[in-house]
């Protein structure tokens, strides 16, 4: 029931904005739902009333409100995001209960809790009224403290939070509206308290201080108007700005927990759920280069506006450092991949040109060096020594013929042709009838393990570690110092990073740089980045080579032919493959069948 007690014309801007954003959000969700494949819809229907929804709710609280993942990386930024999200959320929830308790009416108008202090000024005694008043001021104070931090961050970037993103016009407009909201609420409620009394530790105190000032009456209505307008403007801008992540991120978390597997749905939700927090800014290896800003923050911002460019799609190296730090776990590399596939004509796969030689059948180990592996013969020679020491029968499947795992074609957006290459490789590998398949290239390893389930597929770091653990080969420890560089495809993509390090610790002393493991730097040679010019790659390679030489180890060890080539040619320290480091430390008397 709308009466003068709960309505004033100034609430209209807010109400319109709020209605608009709710309709927009619902339309977005409905559109996504309708484009979702049947199987996924069924999955959602079956999952809604299960524990997965509860788990999702828990994650929503932890990530959307508290921003746990941001806290873990950066306390300052975590507090800032938490204060806005959690503060505002509590302001809404507690405000709802406050108005509910006061009126006893469940169906208060949508604007009523927000402007409660306007409609019910001064002090009133009702159940828990003192608690509500103080709590509402507490949440407001929390938000305002976050806002002060945000202001400091804008004014003094680099001192406190590192790099900050530069936003587009609509995002800046929305940000401005957002920044007006809470100071205006503080001002409006304080002026109201000044006139009518009441208010908590914040608004009440300010109210008392300014009580009796002659301007209060003339400020009263304009401030409530301004508060409502700033809310309205902000809500209208939400769907067109990064703040759409606020409502969407919850749906993304739900969709993930409900097991939605449709690429398009998840990627769309991720695109909308990027909060442009800027965590990815620093870690992007291309950030310092001459390329236009292309970190996920900027790429997704442009993608939403339909203005993503050539470099956004083809200039990304695919090193995954951004995904490693993303608090929303936006798979921006996959989003770029989808754009690649749209940009490239999809050709029919070509038939395999020649029969696979069947000569060497029945080996223990089928080895695959891959395209790059042929250019790092040192790794091959070392693997041969290790396998001979272990007394295993082995064969390199691409000894006589150039086979390809298809990943390069995939990264070029040509998935059909990539599949044809993989099929051919698969036939060749299985034709050897091996007990285990081992690849010395982490890129090929990731492709092969996704394609072959009939045999165990291992990266050679794991395989060699296993040989040592099983006592098939023995290594000796020497006084040498080593720095291990984690290849992106091995650490971030395949989650193999601790085992190579613990294995290397058996042959020497490790001196690791600060950022290693899943946070390792990009070697600059990554297979993605088709549009990255040679000189830019050289810059990246030199930077990473310098970084890896900082701990001062005698040898740099890596486990990917691309990393090896990229770093070796720009480092004064010798760079060897994992297999070479182990082969060098083999005890000759270790043959132990």
């Amino acid at each position: 029931m709308i009466t003068p007690d709960n309505f004033n014309i100034f609430v209209i801007p807010f109400t319109l904005g709020m209605t608009f954003v709710i309709i927009w959000l619902l339309a977005t969700i409905v559109r996504l739902w309708r484009h979702m494949p049947q199987a996924d819809r069924r999955r959602v229907r079956h999952s809604i009333l299960t524990v997965s929804t509860l788990r999702a709710a828990g994650e929503i609280v932890a990530e959307v409100l508290i921003h746990r993942r941001i806290w873990k990386r950066n306390k300052f930024l975590g507090y800032m995001h938490m204060s806005f999200a959690f503060g505002w959320f509590m302001l809404i929830v507690v405000g709802k209960f406050e108005s509910l308790t006061y009126t006893g009416n469940h169906f208060n108008p949508i604007w009523y809790p927000l402007f409660f202090k306007f409609f019910v000024p001064g002090e009133h005694e009702f159940f828990l009224s003192a608690f509500f008043t103080q709590a509402m001021d507490l949440w407001l104070a929390l938000i305002l403290s976050g806002q002060i931090l945000a202001f400091v961050k804008r004014r003094m970037p680099g001192r406190t939070i590192g790099i900050r993103p530069r936003h587009t016009a609509v995002n800046r407009a929305a940000l401005t509206a957002l920044w007006f909201i809470f100071p205006l609420r503080l001002a409006a409620e304080s002026v109201t308290a000044g006139i009518h009394g009441g208010g908590g530790f914040l608004t009440g105190t300010i109210g008392q201080a300014i009580a009796g000032a002659p301007v209060l009456d003339s400020l009263f209505m304009p401030l409530w108007w301004a508060y409502s307008i700033s809310l309205g403007v902000f809500f209208v801008l939400i769907p067109f700005s990064r703040y759409f992540h606020i409502p969407v991120e919850g749906f993304l978390i739900l969709a993930r927990h409900w097991g939605v597997s449709d690429e398009a749905t998840i990627r769309t939700l991720e695109t909308l759920a990027c909060s442009a927090c800027g965590m990815c800014l620093r870690v992007c290896p291309r950030a310092q280069g001459d390329a236009p800003r292309m970190q996920p923050v900027y790429f997704i911002e442009r993608l939403r506006a339909g203005r993503d460019n050539d470099n956004d799609v083809w200039g990304c190296l695919g090193c995954l450092r951004c995904e490693e730090v993303c608090p929303v776990v936006v798979h921006s590399t996959q989003i770029r991949m989808a754009r690649k596939m749209q940009a490239v004509p999809q050709r029919r796969p070509q038939p395999a040109p020649a029969p696979v030689p069947q000569a060497r059948q029945g080996v223990d180990v089928a080895l695959f060096a891959g395209c790059m592996g042929k250019l790092t013969p040192g790794t091959k020679a070392a693997m041969n020594r290790i396998l001979q020491a272990a007394g295993l029968a082995y064969a390199w499947v691409d000894e006589d013929e150039d086979l390809c795992c298809g990943r390069p074609l995939r990264l070029s957006g040509r998935t059909g042709e990539a599949q044809a290459r993989m099929d051919r490789l698969k036939t060749a590998l299985l034709a050897l009838n091996p007990r285990v398949i081992v690849s010395t290239c982490p890129i090929c390893y990731n492709m092969i393990r996704a394609a072959i389930s009939a045999r165990p597929v291992l990266h050679h770091t794991d395989f060699v570690a296993q040989l040592i653990d099983e006592g098939r080969i023995a290594v000796g420890r020497s006084a040498q110092t080593l720095t291990y560089h984690d290849p992106c495809e091995l650490s971030r993509m395949a989650d193999i990073s601790s085992r190579p390090v613990s294995t290397l610790a058996k042959v020497g002393t490790l001196k690791q740089p600060d950022e290693c493991g899943r946070e390792s730097h990009c070697c600059g040679g990554a297979l993605g980045g088709l549009a990255v010019a040679g000189h830019e790659r050289t810059r990246l390679m030199t930077a990473t080579a310098d970084y890896l030489q900082r701990p001062g180890a005698q040898t740099i060890v890596t486990a990917c032919p691309l990393c090896k080539k990229s770093i070796a040619q720009h480092a004064a320290t010798p760079v060897v493959d994992f297999a070479e480091a182990i082969a060098k430390s083999l005890k000759t008397s270790s043959i132990n069948q």
């Binding site: 042929k374 250019l375 790092t376 013969p377 040192g378 090896k564 080539k565 040619q569």
Partner: protein
């Protein structure tokens, strides 16, 4: 610090340093030479045959400066680490062994380093025994060794421009002499192994100096050396212990492969890390080698009294080094006479 009697300190006893020392001592200057290795002669001193002289590098180096020279003293195993200007304008050279030597002038004749061929891993140096560098072969011949002695009809492939003109290794410059060395080595191989086959793989053949083009002509006409314009980029072992190589015959536009017994890499010259002078690294020229003061002052560095000669300034052949070292000696002498 008994070395104040020296007029000049020469860093490096390769042919540049030796030539300058001979010139300066002939003009009555007292010279102290610092050599990081055990013996004098530098890179050239280890070459088995020097074109176009036809004598060994050791002979050539020894002919420049007679062993006993009253004006020249040589300290081997002394590696210069930094140079500083003293208040009186003279220069002090400190060595890694903790000693320091001063003189009114210093002549930097520290030459160059050889490119580390292991960085071009695809060529298999250090992995396959059949892959050798030009330096390895020259040294083995110099010592009287005979690599590949057991092979009948050995096939050789000579790869030009390894570690020259290669941005992958941050090297832009052309090392100038390797074209000639590669062709000279091909004729040398044909003389030492009369039943051999030699093919040179080149990007460009730059036969720029006197006698080079004649050498090239001779290699084709009289030694039947094959020339392929292409770059070997992949090497793999064969089952019979040889090397399988892949290139493109770029003139025909067809892939080309061969099985060879030895692959000889013509490794280029690379610049040493710059010495620190008065706490700052020395100026470098566009090729990364030591830079000089002006287009005219081709032997003077930015520091007064500090001169530079020979291949420390960039790739040079022996003739050029001899001329440059004499010029540097003359400049040094002029400076000392002021």
């Amino acid at each position: 610090m008994n070395s104040n009697h020296n007029d000049t300190i020469i860093i490096g006893t390769g042919i540049a340093g030796l030539t300058a020392a001979a010139e300066l001592s002939a003009r009555g200057r007292k010279v102290l030479m610092l050599e990081k290795n055990d013996s004098t002669g530098g890179h050239v001193g280890q070459w088995s045959v020097c074109f176009p002289f036809g004598i060994s590098g050791r002979e050539l180096a020894e002919s420049i400066l007679p062993q006993s020279n009253a004006n020249v003293s040589i300290r081997t195993r002394s590696t210069a680490s930094a140079i500083s200007t003293l208040p009186d304008g003279s220069l002090s050279v400190s060595c890694t062994d903790g000693t320091a030597h001063s003189a009114r002038t210093v002549l930097l004749a520290s030459g160059y380093g050889m490119f580390d061929a292991r960085l071009k891993e695809e060529l298999g140096y250090g992995i396959y025994p059949g892959v050798l560098t030009s330096e390895d072969i020259e040294r083995q011949w110099q010592k009287g060794e005979r690599p590949l002695a057991g092979h009948s009809n050995p096939r050789f492939a000579i790869v030009h421009c390894v570690g020259s003109r290669d941005l992958k290794c941050n090297i832009r410059h052309c090392s100038k002499v390797c074209c000639m060395v590669g062709v000279k080595m091909a004729t040398e191989i044909r003389q030492r192994y009369p039943d051999s086959q030699v093919t040179n793989y080149y990007m460009d053949l730059r036969m720029f100096d006197n006698g080079y083009e004649e050498l090239y002509h001779d290699a084709q006409l009289n030694y039947n050396v094959q020339f392929v314009r292409g770059r070997i980029s992949e090497v793999a072992p064969t089952n019979d212990g040889r090397l399988y190589i892949r290139a493109e015959d770029t003139l025909l536009g067809k892939p080309l492969r061969d099985k060879v017994d030895a692959l000889v890499l013509m490794i280029g010259m690379s610049a040493h890390e710059p010495l620190h002078v008065d706490g700052e690294p020395m100026n470098r020229s566009i090729n990364g080698f030591v830079g000089t003061a002006s287009p005219v002052q081709i032997n003077l560095t930015a520091t007064p009294g500090l001169f530079v000669a020979g291949a420390a300034k960039g790739p040079m052949n022996i003739t050029e080094v001899l001329a440059d070292a004499r010029a540097a000696a003359a400049e040094t002498d002029k400076y000392l006479s002021r």
